[in-house]
Amino acid sequence: MDVADDLELFEQMCFLRHFEERADVLYRRGLIHGPVHLGLGHEAVAVGAASVLRPDDYSLGTYRGHAHALARGAPADAVLAELLGREGGICGGKGGSMHITSVEHGYYGSYAIVGAHLPIACGLAWAALIRRTEQVTVCFFGDGATNIGAFHEAVNLAAVWRLPVVFVCENNWYMEYTPIGEVIPVALPAADRAAAYGLDRIVVDGNDVAAVRQVVGDAVRAARDGQGPSLVEAQTYRLKGHSAADGGAYRPAEEVARWRERDPLLRTRAVLAAAGTAPEKLDEIEARIKSGLAELAQQILARPAPDPAGAWTDVWSDGSWQWRN
C-alpha cells in the first residue's frame, strides 16, 4: 500500500492486536497444538513497515510472525486455521504458528531458528538485484538475534554486495527471559553494530507507527534506488510473555507499566483524537474487529482437522515424499 492515513493504520494495528489476543485465549483453552509467540505490542513495526512496501516486495519474519504475515495481506482465516490445526491452514497444517508464510502476499516465511532468515533475506534481495526488478526485501528479527553468527554474515554480505534489503531489528529488550543488556557489550543491539558493516546508525520508536513508516520508508526507498542495505533498530516491547506459555514474571512491574503507557494503539488513538476523530468511533472500530475475530475463530474451530494424507505431500516439488524406490 503506498498511502495510508492514520485511521487505516490504526485499524490494521487493532486487527493485529485482537488477532493475537484471540490466539492467546485459544492457546490458553488448549486449542492450539504447539508453541505460539505473540506480537502483542509490536504492531506498529509490522504495520508501519508493511505500509511502505510494494505488493511484490519480499518480507520475512520470525516465529513471532503472525502480525508480519497479516500486515502483508495474508488472509486471517487461513492463518488462524494454521494455528488451530484445521483445514485450510495457510501452510496446510505443516508449519503451524512458528512458520506462517504467505508467498502470494510477498511474505516469504516465519523462521524459528534465531537469525536463520537473515542470510535467506540476502538471497531474495540478490535475486531482485540480478533481475533489476527494484523489489526490496525487509527482514524482521529480534534484539537477541543480533548475537548470533548468521546476523553478522548476512548483514556483512548485504553490505558488501549492496543488496536491496532492510534489516529491521525489533528490539523488545528481552531474549526470552534474559534482558538484552546482560548479553551485549554495547547499549543498543542493532544500532551500535551498524558501523561494523559500514551502515548508518538508525533508531526508531517502534511503538510510533508514523515514525516507523517514515524511517523504514526511507530505508526502503534507498534500497530501491540502489543505495544498498540498511539496518534499522525499532524499539518496542512485548506486552505479554515470550510465548503464550510464559507469564513474563521476570520483568519488573514498573517497566511493564511504563511500556503499557506507550502502547502503540494508545499512541495512535491520541494522534487521531488530536486530529479530531471521536474516541467512540475508534472504540466502535475496535469492537467490530474484536467480535469479528471471535466469530472467525468459532467458524474455524468448526472445521475438521487436515486430512492425514497431507502429511505425505510437499517434500519434493512434484508433491511427493518418497526418497527411494
Binding site: 504447539g34 490445526g85 497444517g93 548470533i148 531474549m175 527471559y177 482437522a305 497431507g310 502429511a311 505425505w312
Partner: protein, 333 residues
C-alpha cells in the same frame, strides 16, 4: 525414595555433580533463570553466577566455550535448548569437539557434556524444533551419545556423562520432561554403554531408545494378549553401543524390530539393524525390521503429526508382520 519428574531428575543430576565436583560449570541460554524446560531451576542460586552462566544466543560460542573450558580442565555442561539448534554450532560439535583429542594425538581430553531437548513426541513443535538429532551425532566418531527413556535414566546417565572424560551429548526427550518415576536415595549413576532389558520375551526383540522404549513396552503388552512375547531393550546410549545385549537377545528370539522416532532414511536403527544382519545372520528367522518416523520434516497439526510419528499400533503391526514372515526355525543356518 522420591518421585521425580524427568525434568527434576535432570536438575537433580546437575546439582549432585556440581556439589560433588566444583569443576562442573553450566552455560546456556536462560540457564541461570532455570531454563526454558525448567531443567536448571535453583542452580544459579545454589552454585553462584560463576558456575551457572547465561549466554547470548550464540550456540557456536556456547559449544566452543565449553570445549575450551574442558581443555583447561573444567567439566562444563552446555545446554543447547532444542537439539535442532546443534545445527547452528555443528562445526564446533562435529569438527572440533569430536576430533580435537584425536587430531592432537591425545594432548587434550574433553570432559564436557552437551545436553538439550530432543525429539517430537507429538507436542506440535514442528520441523525445526522436533528432530531426532542424535542421528546427526552418530555419523561423527568421537562423540558419546546418551538418550534417557525415563527420570531414573535422565538422572543417572547425565551424572555418568558429567563424570566421563570424553564429550557426551545427552539427548533429553521433550515429551518426557513431565514423566514421573520413583528414584532411590543417594548417588544416582547409570554407566554409559549398557543397554537395559526392560521386558523379557522369547518371540521377538524390540529395540528402542528414549521415547520409543515406552512405545515398545506398550506394543509388547498389546502383543502379550495375543500370546506374542516380545523382549524390549532400551539402548540408553548409541555410543558406546551395547550391541552385545541386542545380539544376545536376537540369538534367542531370532527376530528383530528396531523402533526409532526419527525418519527412516538414515537413523541409528539402520546401524543396529545392519549389525544384526551381519553378526546375528545365522540366528535370524525373519526379516530385520525397522519402524521409524515418516520420512518427511515434522508437521505441526496434530492430525498430520500423528500420521508420521511412530505409534504403538505401527510397532505391534510390524511385529505381527515379522512373525508372519518368519522362516521355519529348521531352515536357519
Amino acid at each position: 525414595m522420591a518421585e521425580l519428574t524427568y525434568r527434576q531428575a535432570v536438575a537433580a543430576a546437575l546439582a549432585q555433580e556440581m556439589a560433588r565436583d566444583d569443576r562442573v560449570v553450566l552455560l546456556g541460554e536462560d540457564v541461570a533463570s532455570g531454563g526454558v524446560f525448567k531443567t536448571t531451576g535453583g542452580l544459579r542460586e545454589r552454585f553462584g553466577a560463576d558456575r551457572v552462566r547465561n549466554t547470548p544466543i550464540s550456540e557456536q560460542a556456547i559449544a566452543g566455550a565449553a570445549m575450551g573450558a574442558a581443555m583447561a580442565g573444567l567439566r562444563p555442561v552446555a545446554e543447547i535448548m532444542f537439539s535442532d539448534f546443534y545445527a547452528t554450532c555443528w562445526d564446533q560439535v562435529a569438527n572440533e569437539i569430536a576430533k580435537v583429542r584425536y587430531m592432537t594425538g591425545g594432548q587434550v581430553s574433553l570432559p564436557l557434556v552437551l545436553r538439550g531437548a530432543n525429539g517430537s513426541g507429538g507436542l506440535g513443535f514442528g520441523s525445526q524444533h522436533g528432530q531426532s538429532v542424535e542421528n546427526w551425532a552418530m555419523t561423527v566418531p568421537g562423540l558419546k551419545i546418551a538418550s534417557p527413556a525415563g527420570p531414573a535414566e535422565a538422572f543417572g546417565l547425565l551424572a555418568a556423562a558429567i563424570r566421563d572424560d570424553d564429550p557426551v551429548m545427552v539427548f533429553e526427550h521433550k515429551a518426557l520432561y513431565g514423566r514421573k518415576e520413583e528414584i532411590g536415595d543417594g548417588e544416582q549413576v547409570v554407566p554409559l554403554g549398557q543397554a537395559r532389558t526392560v521386558r523379557a520375551g522369547r518371540d521377538v526383540t524390540l529395540v528402542g531408545l528414549s521415547i520409543t522404549v515406552g512405545t515398545c513396552l506398550a506394543a509388547a503388552q498389546e502383543l502379550a494378549a495375543e500370546g506374542i512375547e516380545a523382549e524390549v531393550i532400551d539402548l540408553r546410549t548409541l555410543v558406546p553401543l551395547d550391541a552385545a545385549t541386542v545380539l544376545a537377545s536376537v540369538a534367542r528370539t531370532g527376530r528383530l524390530v528396531v523402533v526409532e522416532e526419527n525418519p527412516g532414511q538414515l537413523g541409528w536403527g539402520a546401524s543396529v539393524a545392519a549389525i544384526a544382519a551381519q553378526e546375528a545372520f545365522g540366528s535370524l528367522t525373519a526379516p530385520v525390521t525397522r519402524v521409524s518416523g515418516g520420512n518427511v520434516p515434522l508437521p505441526v497439526a496434530a492430525s498430520l503429526e500423528a500420521e508420521v510419528d511412530v505409534s504403538v499400533a505401527r510397532v505391534a503391526g510390524a511385529v505381527r508382520g515379522v512373525l508372519g514372515a518368519s522362516r521355519p526355525l529348521s531352515s536357519t543356518g
